[in-house]
């Protein structure tokens, strides 16, 4: 029987990272994945990742996937695609279906990195074609280039719901609304703000009552819920949609761990009990990534590297001391991602009212998806008088683990500090040359350049723009406020991009002077709202 020193199940971010780490240490490694393409969910992630430079922040998920694949190839990892791991057995054996046959393999160590699957919520009509997981919609549009529908209701305002809604808009699909049964938005405020300023409405404390249609979805009914999440009669609202996307969380796909007989525990679903390096109760059987507890891709990659290193230590490829050094560095890096109000330990908390620094959290952001102008002014990235002339306005008001803006400004205008989750602050007397690097680097698209041209009575606002068609210089239209409503006429004065911006266009529009802190998006043509 063919034997590898490490068998990795799942070629997603965790699995590939583990494989690369182990192979670089000298192990013979094979990765099996049931999909036709490697990368797991990475190739569906077309947004820029959060984090710091070492976490590959501001790089789009699919690019990180490409890098990982290249690394896997260079390190000699065998990646077997279209290979379904059917079962896991005694003594480190797996059976793999590939094509029209089944192979048996053994691994000295096995790493399960099968990721997660989407949770579902049942409602009247939820079996109709057109109701699908948000991830399913993402797969269809970002992997296969097919729109999942023409008008979508997004159920769930966690990061998946928010990110996929934005991606739907990028794919040319309308988003009728984002709803959530919870009284506040679950995902990052910056993700919500991207949708709100384009005009996507948020309905919090709302649930879907019904998907309408006989053969497929032709509409949806939503309603407000009471404190026990029951719909309140009389609050029903009909939405014209042909697609309903469900984004109500993820569950670990831990069947193989259970099949192997791992001791299990509960962590948003059944997950194996693991030691600090991802080893389960069965010696030599590791898990990494979402299968061990839902997080995000950046954490999964670090977790994978830790487990890969632990497997290498187990097989004698990594001396104890070297392993400990490596593991502690990786854990420190993981620790950085685990800080702040969205850290795993704060999961599901709704009682936070202030940031780590003591700033009052924006209620409008939590309840409507955007910051009010008054609230923006209270944060260190946008305080009035921080800078004269052209200057960045950073509308980043929650402690999320991310700091590329700090590195983006070569004049040191922007400071996050040692704690990646701290709010970015714009320095007093900052010397801003208006290069726009900060705007392009912000994965949350939360930085704007504002230039008040007092003599002319106008101002320019530069915003990140990731839609087609890109308005050309001279294009006339309207500026939309943070809430997506038309605030004033606007004209495009510049649309620039560069390779390193990877698809982000810096769109500069001219607006009346008094609108510089209100106008946050540009829409071609005469908006009539």
């Amino acid at each position: 029987m063919k034997r590898y020193e490490l068998i990795v199940i799942g070629a997603g971010p965790a699995g590939l990272s583990a494989a690369v780490e182990a192979a670089n240490a000298g192990m013979s490694v094979a990765v099996f994945d049931e999909n036709a393409r490697p990368g797991g969910q990475l190739f569906k992630q077309i947004h820029k990742f959060f984090g710091s430079k070492e976490h590959q922040a501001k790089i789009r998920g699919f690019r990180i996937g490409q890098q990982l694949l290249k690394q896997a190839e260079e390190s000699g990892v065998e990646v077997h695609l279209n290979s379904v791991v059917m079962g896991i057995f005694d003594l480190g054996e797996i059976t793999v279906q590939h094509g029209d046959g089944v192979c048996h393999y053994k691994g000295d160590s096995i790493l399960i990195a099968t990721g997660a699957c989407e949770n579902m919520v049942p409602f009247d009509g939820w079996t109709l074609p057109g109701v699908m997981g948000a991830g399913a919609a993402q797969t269809m549009m970002n992997l296969h280039g097919v729109q999942p529908g023409s008008r979508v209701l997004m159920v769930g305002s966690g990061n998946v719901g928010l990110v996929v809604s934005f991606q739907l808009l990028q794919a040319g699909v309308e988003v009728a609304a984002v709803i959530d049964a919870a009284p506040q938005i679950g995902g990052y405020g910056v993700h919500a703000a991207k949708l709100a300023r384009i005009g996507v409405p948020f309905y919090l404390s709302h649930t879907i009552v019904k998907a309408e249609g006989t053969d497929h979805v032709t509409g949806a009914v939503i309603a407000q819920v009471d404190e026990s999440f029951r719909p309140i009669a009389g609050t029903e609202k009909h939405l014209d949609v042909d697609t309903v996307c469900i984004a109500v969380g993820l569950s670990p796909m831990s069947q193989l761990a259970r099949m192997a007989g791992c001791e299990m525990t509960e962590k948003g679903g059944a997950v194996p009990v693991v030691d600090e390096y991802g080893q389960t109760s069965i010696p030599g059987l590791f898990v990494a990534g979402d299968v061990g507890g839902i997080e995000e891709a950046s954490s999964a990659m670090i977790g994978g590297r830790i487990a890969g290193a632990a497997a290498a230590r187990r097989s004698g490829y990594l001396p104890e001391e070297e392993f400990r050094e490596k593991a502690s560095a990786l854990k420190a890096s993981l620790g950085q991602l685990h800080e702040g109000m969205f850290s795993p330990k704060n999961k599901g908390r709704r009682d936070l009212t202030v940031t780590d620094e003591g700033y009052l959290l924006s209620k409008t952001l939590l309840h409507h998806g955007y910051l009010s102008e008054e609230e923006v002014a209270g944060f260190p990235g946008a305080a009035p008088g921080k800078s004269a002339g052209i200057h960045p306005v950073i509308e980043c008001t929650q402690n999320i683990p991310c700091n590329p803006c700090q590195d983006a400004c070569r004049f040191g205008c922007i400071r996050v500090g040692d704690h990646m989750t701290a709010l970015p602050a714009v320095a007093e007397n900052a010397r801003c040359v208006g290069c726009g690097m900060c705007v392009a680097s912000c994965p949350g698209q939360a930085i704007f350049l504002v230039n008040d041209e007092e003599e002319a009575g106008t101002a320019t606002v530069t915003l990140p723009y990731e839609f087609l068609p890109v308005p050309e210089k001279g294009a006339k239209g309207v500026a939309l406020g943070r809430d997506g409503r038309v605030v004033c006429p606007a004209e495009v004065v510049e649309a620039k991009t560069a390779g390193f911006m990877d698809g982000t266009v810096l769109l500069t529009m001219r607006v009346p002077l008094e609108m510089s802190m209100k106008a946050r998006f540009f829409k071609t043509g005469e908006g009539t709202k």
Partner: protein
């Protein structure tokens, strides 16, 4: 080890609910009402519910409804979902044709 369950514990009578006709197991078309009723008929473990109704016994092997069934059973029993033992995970993880399953070949290359 299984949790100690006295099957005589009073869990109240079955009370019909408005959404009892919601499909929960999409493969086998098993409704919420059927699951709730099974609990009142003594099916107190997820495995018993599955064997009694076929919920989770279809083509996807409960990968979609497992979590939902668990929530419904837990609520009916007045326990936390995490207190319920999952049904057994078995090979194969995906449906495999008999002629493929029986065709054991050696090595990928």
């Amino acid at each position: 080890m299984s949790r100690l369950l006295d099957r005589n514990r009073e869990i109240g009578a079955f009370v019909p609910q408005q959404d009892d006709d919601l499909i929960i197991c999409r493969c086998e078309e098993i409704t919420k009402g059927e699951i709730r009723r099974a609990v009142h008929e003594g099916m107190w473990t997820l495995t018993e519910v599955k064997r009694f109704l076929r919920a989770g016994m279809g083509l996807c092997q409960g990968q979609t409804c497992g979590r939902l069934v668990k929530g419904i059973v837990a609520k009916e029993l007045g326990v936390r979902p995490s207190e319920l033992e999952d049904t057994t995970a078995r090979c194969p993880t995906r449906p495999v044709e008999m002629q493929v399953f029986g065709n054991e070949v050696h090595g990928h290359e």
